[in-house]
């Protein structure tokens, strides 16, 4: 080492750290391709369902009158719709604050083989001002219709 010139050592250090950082970047991109969970609205699921074991997010409105509690008292069934398609959802948990029929929800989970969406987590509308980001893309008109349709 001592024979090595200072300049060379600096170069090697820079190269090693660059390699590590670029490695981290490439690794991140590779990891993201496999692990990012994609967002679907019911119409997307009807048109092009995701693979059964892939974690995805489903967003839409909870249809009025569709919320049912199973005999065990903790499993719930409900239907998420966007005015074009409907997806039945099963969720075994305490529902989050603000989860109710006729309001927006984003469910994280997987689509089962029978077409029922098995949710591990529900993100409900947080307050009056908050709309799940993915649902902002629905036009005002679409959203109104959706709300009308599921009321």
């Amino acid at each position: 080492m001592s024979a090595m010139k200072a300049k060379h050592q600096r170069l090697i250090l820079v190269l090693i750290s660059m390699a590590a950082l670029i490695g981290a970047g490439l690794l991140a991109i590779w990891g993201l391709r496999g692990n990012a969970s994609y967002f679907y609205v019911p119409a997307d699921i009807a048109a092009n369902p995701p693979a059964a074991d892939r974690a995805v997010r489903l967003g839409g409105m909870v249809e009025a009158g569709s919320l049912k509690t199973a005999p065990d008292g903790v499993t719930i069934h409900f239907v998420v719709g966007d005015g074009k398609a409907r997806v039945p959802v099963i969720y075994r948990n305490i529902v989050p604050d603000l989860f109710k029929e006729g309001s927006g929800v984003v469910a994280e989970g997987k689509l089962g083989h029978d077409g029922t969406f098995v949710a591990d987590n529900l993100l409900a509308k947080h307050d009056e001002k908050y709309v799940p980001r993915e649902m902002k893309d629905m036009t005002e008109d679409q959203a109104c219709k959706t709300v009308e349709a599921v009321k």
């Binding site: 090595m4 300049k7 974690a55 305490i94």
Partner: protein, 656 residues
């Protein structure tokens, strides 16, 4: 209503103080800039006083905002939108920063105070670097003053005072959360000092061990607050959100983790620069990056472009404004770095087996982790620009950060034992036999106890070995003579092991039960027998609640009482679940009361989480370690200054 007279002046006073502070920041920038030129000494004398007064004025503006919140002056728009006369005093005060405008005012207040504090006490740097540093600090402040005054004025009046305020988000009405944001902000904004120091040093090209010694306490101070803020935020999310998790990889959490990772790397590289005069350009780079991460975090949170529980300002104009500020500051600083890095003379070189090469490894791994978190946090934005909607969660973050963190922790066992400059691995080998044995033994135990859970096994195996190895630097020393910074390092590294153990235990051994029970029924969860006694309605200051009376008995011992609530707030109307926790030395029982099922049964969610409290205990130990190190460094600097002035005094006397 009775405070109308005083309340009306207070808001205007606050706004005036804010304008004055902004004007002084401009003066500070100009005077500091001129002082760098050869003939600017006259103006240089005003820079320090101006920085101090600017900080005081910003504080006055902030105090005015808190005052209008305390008196609930409903003619101020911000108060009407975020407060309510029937709120407990603590949340009236906390309401002042629980919103966009108030939190930005808190940001500039801390920034002004930090700059003023540096101006008042920092005498170790060459005066030219100091001037450049204070000018840099003012330059960054100005952008945020402009943002505050033109795009988010907290003192805006309503034409017609509101009859009643709209209240504060109930999720934020919690004593822990009242003080979590200020703590985190001190950390975020404290890093602006490191940023300004780096700018100052880049401008004057004076990078030396003395510079690193001057910068280190400031970095440590900000880092301690960041550590505490993250720890407290994690505990808040754990008990308040009622999901039983302690880290969600939410963009806002990542926004606090990224500056922490950069600051952790920075304070380690400061150590190398101070001791060995190496890693000169790299340290400056990290100084720039750390505060840039704070600003990016603020941008992510404040612009509301990421879906998050915490994102309350959804205003595209503000988002654009912050984005422009980011581009100017980060882009400008990186440009300055690119121009000057080449001319900063290179540091000392060093051998592979040495303390500094261990620290270089630490820095590279921390930067790698930072890269993984940054890319994962920004990826949904990039994907959206390309028309895809994705979210990124634990399946990405957990394994990919572990790829960098695990090797770093392995090196952490060896690094602190090595000597600076050049060491021989054979010297420390004997000390490492025991940690290696512990590692092997605990891998075996972990595989048996938590089969199949890869990350938990790694954590369970690493934690005990790391805990032991972190104490090794004390071996062979007389404990009474060990210096404070060494105690700090040992404690902080030990804290990492404690925290890691908590995380691994939580993910490996948590038992969860979700049931619907009638009053009188009992449920088993792990070693606990939980009996639901009754449900009673109760009322608080601005909520009503249904409270469950639960009796929990650990392995048949005397039962203790837990009271989880399902609360309904009326301003604004919202339901929250208040979990109830029972803490034992070996873990926590976590209970959440859900809704009433149709047939008179109540939903109950129970977790037994062995050793989960270790996570936050570790966090506190890490912060405490930082505090010891900071005190040690400051004390020795003060001693040095005193000694120097004594010598100067004696010389003067002898000369006479």
């Amino acid at each position: 209503m009775q405070d109308c007279g005083s309340g009306q002046v207070i808001a205007e006073f606050g706004l005036a103080a804010l304008w004055l502070a902004a004007a002084l920041a401009v003066l500070q920038l100009i005077a500091g800039g001129v002082a760098l030129s050869r003939r600017g000494d006259a103006l240089g004398a005003v820079v320090r006083p101006v920085a101090i007064v600017q900080g005081v004025l910003a504080l006055a503006a902030f105090a005015a905002l808190v005052a209008v919140f305390i008196s609930t002056d409903l003619s101020v728009k911000l108060v009407a939108a975020n407060s309510h006369s029937a709120k407990p005093l603590l949340y009236k005060i906390a309401g002042a920063w629980g919103n966009h405008e108030g939190s930005m005012l808190l940001w500039v207040t801390i920034m002004g105070l930090a700059g003023g504090f540096v101006a008042a006490v920092e005498r170790r740097l060459p005066e030219r670097t100091m001037m450049a540093t204070l000018a840099g600090q003012a330059f960054v402040s100005i952008g945020f003053y402009v943002f505050l005054l033109f795009a988010s004025n907290p003192f805006t009046r309503l034409a017609e005072p509101a009859a009643e305020g709209q209240g504060l988000n109930p999720l934020l009405q919690d004593p822990g959360l009242a003080f979590h944001p200020p703590t985190l902000y001190v950390g975020y904004v404290g890093l602006s000092i490191a940023f300004s120091f780096a700018i100052g040093a880049l401008i004057t090209r004076e990078v030396s061990p003395a510079f690193a010694r001057a910068m280190r306490p400031w970095v440590l101070g900000a880092w301690i607050f960041l550590t505490l803020g993250i720890t407290a935020g994690s505990y808040w999310a754990y008990y308040e959100l009622g999901w039983g998790g302690w880290w969600f990889w939410d963009p806002v959490e990542n926004a606090s983790l990224m500056p922490w990772l950069a600051a952790t790397a920075l304070l380690h590289s400061c150590g190398v620069l101070a001791a060995r005069n190496a890693l000169r350009a790299w340290t400056l780079m990290l100084g720039v990056v750390a505060f840039s991460m704070s600003m990016i975090g603020t941008f992510l949170v404040r612009s509301g472009i990421l879906t998050s529980v915490h994102a309350f300002a959804v205003d595209p104009r503000r988002g654009t404004f912050i984005l422009v500020l980011l581009a100017i500051y980060i882009g400008g600083a990186l440009m300055l770095f690119a121009l000057r890095a080449g001319s900063i003379s290179e540091g000392e070189r060093f051998a592979v087996t040495s303390r500094e090469s261990g620290l270089v490894f630490n820095n590279v791994m921390l930067s790698g982790t930072l890269g993984i978190v940054l890319i994962g946090t920004l990826y949904p934005l990039l994907a959206e620009a390309m028309g895809m909607k994705v979210s990124v969660g634990p399946p990405y973050f957990n394994p990919f950060t572990a790829l960098f963190v695990v090797p770093m922790l392995l090196v952490l066992m060896v690094g602190p034992l090595l000597r600076w400059r050049l060491d021989n691995f054979g010297r420390v080998r004997s000390g490492l036999i025991i940690p290696a044995l512990i590692l092997v033994l605990s891998i075996g135990i972990a595989i048996v106890m938590a089969p199949g859970k890869m990350l938990s096994i790694i954590g369970l195996a690493l934690a005990p070995a790391l805990a032991f190895a972190s104490l090794l630097p004390l071996r062979g020393r007389r404990l009474s003579r060990v210096k404070l910074p060494l105690w700090g390092m040992v404690l902080a590294h030990f804290g990492v092991a404690v925290s890691l153990f908590g995380m691994a235990c939580d993910s490996a051994f948590t038992v969860e039960k979700l049931v619907a029970v009638r009053p009188g029924e009992a449920v088993r969860v792990g070693p606990w027998q939980v009996t639901m006694k009754s449900i009673t309605p109760i009322a608080g200051p601005n909520w009503t609640a249904l409270e469950g009376d639960l009796q929990a008995s650990y392995n048949g011992t005397a039962p203790s009482l837990l009271r989880p609530q399902s609360r309904s707030f009326w301003t604004p109307p919202q339901q929250t679940n208040e979990s109830a926790l029972l803490t034992r030395w070996n873990g926590q029982l976590y209970t959440v009361l859900g809704d009433e099922a149709a047939d008179g049964r109540w939903q109950l969610r129970l977790w037994w989480k062995p050793f989960v409290t270790m996570i936050w205990l570790g966090g506190v130990l890490i912060a405490l370690g930082g505090l010891l190190a900071m005190l040690g460094h400051v004390a020795s600097d003060v001693r040095r200054v005193i000694a120097r002035s004594k010598i100067a005094f004696r010389r003067e006397r002898q000369g006479r």
